[in-house]
């Protein structure tokens, strides 16, 4: 049971990683003006892949967490990782609000005030994925 859940957990991480690559590739092309807008279908596909990966990671993570919760709650690295996970979840909801603009407006046409939340959300997303991954690695190593 335990190794299967771990495998599933890692599989969801890979799925989220693939979704992030697709989303980032489309987003960078849009920001650099290589594509005027991002097709709605492509936008939602990438978002759903990342969302499925994230949700899968969280639910399999909760299954892994529960039997050893007393131990993990005493581990600072784990608590920091959970902080990043919470940030990712909240940011995912925010991203869904923000991403629609890419489907009908070129990046260049956005004002600085409209670009700022996109940059902020992207930065939070990057920092949280990297942070959670790093904490998981450190937790495993030490």
């Amino acid at each position: 049971m335990h190794p299967f859940i771990v495998l599933l957990h890692v599989s969801f991480l890979c799925l989220a990683g693939v979704g992030i690559l697709i989303a980032d590739h489309a987003a960078f092309n849009w920001m650099r003006g290589k594509t005027r807008t991002i097709g709605k279908k492509a936008l939602f596909t990438a978002h759903w892949i990342v969302t499925t990966g994230l949700l899968g990671l969280i639910y399999t993570g909760l299954v892994l967490f529960w039997p050893v919760r007393d131990y993990l709650l005493t581990q600072p690295l784990f608590l920091i990782k959970m902080g990043f996970v919470a940030a990712l979840l909240i940011n995912s909801i925010v991203i869904e609000w923000l991403m629609h603009v890419a489907a009908y407006r070129p990046f260049k046409s956005l004002s600085m005030g409209q670009k700022a939340p996109l940059f902020l959300s992207g930065a939070i997303s990057t920092a949280s994925w990297a942070g959670a991954g790093l904490m998981a690695l450190l937790q495993f190593a030490f």
Binding site: Y59, Y71, L89, S92, E96
Partner: protein, 130 residues
């Protein structure tokens, strides 16, 4: 809209599980990890070291690999082989204890915590004889 609800719902589940885990977390108690062999039936049954009264450090040192990992902790000897792959903190910390007296490492990491002490009891072989 659906994925927004799904994400918000997951956030609530996540927060509830973490909150429940925190609330039901046993308070750290100053219990000792040491299991008195005289008062512990498991230990009494398990004693089978070559000395007959427990396990020597020399015996512990012979089990210094992932395939047979014994460690002396606070006066008792534990067979941690099956715990290597289950340790929530990864294999490294357990592997580093194989064949050694891991009292300092264990107490430094888990001293005063009820759960690790209770987990450890499951792997008790017997007392460490001098």
């Amino acid at each position: 809209m659906f994925s927004r609800l799904l994400l918000a719902g997951t956030f609530v589940v996540f927060a509830l599980v973490m909150g429940a885990a925190y609330v039901t977390q046993p308070h750290s108690s100053p219990i000792s990890v040491r299991v008195s062999p005289a008062s512990n039936s498991t230990a009494s049954v398990a004693i089978s070291g070559t000395s007959g009264t427990g396990y020597t450090m020399t015996e512990v040192q012979q089990h210094n690999s992932a395939s047979s990992c014994w460690a002396a902790i606070n006066g008792n000897v534990y067979d941690l082989t099956n715990w290597i792959n289950q340790h929530p903190g990864g294999q490294g910390p357990i592997l580093s204890l194989c064949g050694t007296d891991g009292s300092a490492a264990f107490n430094g990491q888990h001293g005063g915590q009820a759960r690790p002490a209770s987990e450890l009891k499951n792997f008790l072989l017997g007392p460490l004889s001098s």
